[in-house]
């Protein structure tokens, strides 16, 4: 099986399957990731409500299975005079909002489902960008060594010296000055084609759903620029060791150009640790994005981090507002890391297929 220059041998697939069967954790990880991806992809179809619809009358409803007591104050006419009456009201959950609502009356479950989109998009695209940048730099540095290596790696070191969150914030500040529109709105095909609409009608869920969603491009760019260093390090290490292999010498003896050697020989043989790193980076970037949203920098309001920020003030009373998106982050990160472990255990070249004394 081939993906570009990288061929996946049948042995690799066999190893992946074997590891999957034998490791319960791998299965859990895959399940979690699949659930999140499906949720994000089919958000308009499965979210119970439109995540943006506010309904102040139904604010701060608890999730199913919980009841909440609230103090409500009313002004009443009692015997001709205006009095404020305070009474404790029991608030019940409703099936319309299975995870409750936030202070604006927006459905939390729907927001969590839509938030998955943001996290996954940023995680995926951010990782891809960081990987492209980092692997290119790393392979070049590792293959050529000498001054090229020194220069590139010192740049990486400088970048590493900054805590990633601080660097990200600084970069966002930098970019937002050049672009008033910090985010890109993308139309949601499931909604515009009416697929979501007809499905929801059939099932009896309220419509309509948002037609566009925001792709936080600046965050993606920033995250890419912050995280390329990890890829560069790994790629460089791999390039350093692979370039010493005899098959690289053999390729040179055949007359292969440097570019060919790097893409045809060094890259495919370095791919395993890069792949494992990529899965871990997706998780890390999701966390980074959440932190940025929490601080208000992400440019989209439909994000887990943003919701956590919103719910911060209500932690003692309507705890579910912050906790649900928080839980979502935890489960996604765990799931992705478990998948990363699965890949690493299966692809580890230390596990040789051949036995024998």
């Amino acid at each position: 099986m081939k993906i570009g220059p990288i061929s996946i041998s049948p042995r690799t697939i066999r190893n992946l399957r074997k590891e999957f069967r034998s490791s319960g954790l791998a299965r859990i990880g895959v399940v979690l990731v699949v659930v999140i991806v499906l949720a994000a992809a089919f958000a308009p179809m499965i979210a119970p409500q439109n995540p943006r619809t506010q309904d102040l009358d139904r604010a701060q409803l608890p999730p199913l299975g919980f009841t909440d007591t609230e103090q409500q104050t009313r002004t009443e006419m009692v015997n001709g005079s205006v009095e404020t009456v305070t009474e404790n009201v029991t608030v019940n959950a409703t099936a319309q909002h299975p995870l409750g609502t936030n202070s604006l009356g927006q459905d939390i479950l729907s927001r969590v489902i839509y938030g998955a989109r943001t996290s996954l998009l940023v995680g995926l695209f951010g990782t891809v960008l960081a990987a492209l940048l980092g692997v290119t730099v790393g392979l070049t540095a590792g293959y050529y060594r000498g001054r090229v290596d020194d220069a590139l790696m010192r740049t990486a070191d400088v970048s590493l010296a900054f805590p990633s969150l601080v660097l990200a914030i600084a970069l966002i500040g930098l970019f937002s000055r050049f672009q008033a529109d910090v985010a890109v709105a993308i139309t949601d095909p499931l909604v515009t084609t009416g697929v979501a609409g007809s499905f929801r009608d059939a099932v009896g869920l309220p419509t309509p759903m948002p037609e566009t969603f925001v792709l936080p491009t600046v965050v993606i760019l920033v995250v890419g620029f912050v995280n390329w260093v990890w890829f560069a390090r790994i790629a460089r290490g791999e390039a350093l060791s692979v370039r010493e292999e005899e098959y690289v010498k053999a390729a040179r003896a055949l007359g292969a150009s440097d570019v060919r050697i790097v893409f045809r020989h060094v890259l495919p043989n370095s791919i395993t640790p890069i792949l494992v790193l990529a899965t871990i980076q997706v998780a890390a970037i999701i966390l980074l994005e959440s932190s940025l949203s929490f601080l208000g920098f992400s440019g989209t309001t439909l994000s887990w981090g943003f919701d956590i920020a919103q719910g911060r003030d209500y932690l003692s009373s309507s705890w579910w507002i912050a906790t649900m998106p928080g839980l979502a982050i935890v489960l996604s990160v765990i799931g992705i890391n478990l998948v990363g472990d699965w890949l690493r255990d299966a692809l580890d070249p230390g596990i040789e297929g051949e036995g024998g004394m």
Partner: protein, 496 residues
């Protein structure tokens, strides 16, 4: 050097090839004013390979044979020297010339496990060269695509090296060591080369597989008219497959010539020692008394002056003023080498004596010190002036003055081998050794010419030049201070 007996021009001609690795050479080191040191992996190598022949390059680890092989293919940049392939200077080739050269000269590596890219199928590996050079240049006439043509060619090559074509889509790890080596050979053959460097192609293989591969290599050479440079450390393999042999030691070629000549009448003491050391697979081997070459190969960072082999040579030449048994002379030279190049200290001897004699109660006794050294370096049994010199030196050494002792010994015992570098001398069978090259270092000196040194009987000298060998005149301006140029060259009057 010259042309072979058939009057052909060599296909490959290497002259004074040098490859040094410089350490301590970065900006940082220069700031700290560190002297750049160099590892002299290849230190002046001359070779020729004639069309259709197999030239063997043998030597032990660290002699530079693999580095030579890679450097002459320009897989590493040479520090100095020229390599001419079919008349063209390889070191000066431009990009496109170099690409053409790569089609004509290939290489097969030693390790079958790391010389094949584990991520590529065997078919891709064999066909890679074709792809790189854009072959076929035009679409084949029979309607196949270029890709199909390459695939067919790869299958053909696999069959030719003894594998089956239907394994073309398998990965290297599915093959055994011998089979992988065949793939490596097929890869080298894909571009239809004229010349192949074989860098220890069978060293990593089992004996029975080795034989299969050697037979294959011979067949291929005949079928395709290939010229081989066969690098190896296993002398029996070299004897079997090579037409001519070059023996390397510490970055230099010490002897070269037709295979049978080298193996049956070696001229250089190192070649002799090498042949002596190899165990033969026969019952007669059991009784054979082997006198191994002592010590280790010196570091290529700091090769001995003059002849690199002098620190271990059993036939190192005594200066004209000295005439003692060769064993003792070798002993003196060993002591000198340890003092001058290996950081020998008197303290270490005292430490050893101390631990032998039970620790703290040991009192330092110069007599014991000298006795221990005499024993270690085989210095007993000297007499006369040589004995006096040695005893003096030992005395000085016992007092901790290593440099002075070394100097004392050097004055008296400096060998021509350390002062003059020998040059490869000879026509077809050449050796880089003063014994072979210079008539005056023949051991048959008249007692009168020995001068003040009244050592014992003349030591066992080297075998005098075999009749018929041509010895060039190494000393054109006659400035050598040899005593007694009328020293007999007649083998019959040998005074052993």
């Amino acid at each position: 050097m010259s042309e072979s007996a058939a009057g052909e021009e060599p296909l490959l001609e290497v002259r004074d090839l040098r490859k040094y690795y410089f350490e301590n050479d970065s900006l940082f080191d220069r700031l700290l004013r560190r002297e750049p040191t160099s590892v002299k992996a290849v230190d002046g190598v001359d070779l020729e390979v004639y069309p259709g022949e197999t030239l063997g390059v043998v030597g032990e680890s660290g002699c530079g044979k693999s580095t030579t092989g890679e450097t002459l293919l320009r897989l590493r940049e040479a520090t100095d020297g020229t390599v001419r392939f079919d008349g063209e200077d390889v070191m000066e080739m431009s990009g496109s010339e170099l690409t053409r050269f790569r089609k004509r000269a290939g290489i097969v590596f030693q390790d079958p496990f790391s010389s094949l890219d584990p991520r590529m199928t065997v078919g891709d590996i064999v066909g890679e060269g074709l792809k790189i050079h854009g072959m076929p240049e035009e679409s084949p006439e029979d309607g196949r695509s270029k890709r199909e043509w390459r695939r067919d060619r790869a299958m053909e090559l696999l069959e030719r090296v003894g594998l089956s074509a239907d394994q073309i889509d398998r990965y290297p790890h599915e093959f055994s060591g011998g089979q992988r080596q065949r793939v490596g050979i097929a890869r080298a053959l894909a571009l239809d080369p004229e010349f192949i460097v074989l860098d220890e192609p069978v060293s990593a293989l089992d004996v029975s597989v080795q034989a299969q591969i050697l037979n294959l290599l011979e067949d291929l050479q005949e079928e395709f008219g290939l010229t081989y440079l066969f690098i190896a450390h296993d002398l029996s393999v070299v004897r079997h497959i090579c037409d001519r042999v070059a023996v390397m030691y510490l970055g230099e070629v010490v002897e070269t010539g037709p295979t049978d000549d080298i193996f049956e009448s070696p001229k250089h003491p190192y070649t002799e020692a090498l042949l002596e050391s190899v165990p033969r697979a026969s019952v007669d081997e059991q009784g054979r008394r082997v006198d191994p070459l002592p010590g280790d190969v010196p570091s290529p960072r700091n090769p001995p002056s003059g002849c690199h082999f002098r620190t271990r040579c059993p036939e190192v030449i005594q200066p004209a003023t000295v005439d003692i048994p060769q064993e003792q002379y070798r002993g003196v030279m060993n002591l000198r080498d340890r003092l001058e190049r290996q950081g020998f200290t008197a303290e270490s001897v005292w430490d050893t004596l101390e631990s032998e004699h039970g620790g703290d109660d040991f009192e330092r006794d110069t007599v014991v010190f000298k006795e221990s050294l005499r024993e270690e370096f085989d210095l007993a049994g000297l007499s006369g002036a040589t004995m006096d010199t040695v005893e003096d030196a030992l005395e000085i050494l016992a007092n901790g003055r290593e440099d002075e002792a070394a100097e004392r010994l050097r004055e008296a015992f400096a060998s021509p081998c350390e002062e003059e570098e020998p040059v490869l001398t000879g026509d077809e069978h050449a050796a880089s050794c003063h014994l072979f090259a210079d008539e005056e270092y023949d051991r048959d000196l008249d007692p009168e010419d020995v001068g003040s040194a009244m050592g014992g009987m003349g030591g066992p000298g080297p075998s005098p030049p075999v009749d018929g060998d041509v010895v060039d005149d190494l000393d054109p301006d006659g400035s050598d201070d040899a005593v007694g140029t009328d020293a007999g060259t007649d083998s019959d009057t040998d005074a052993r």
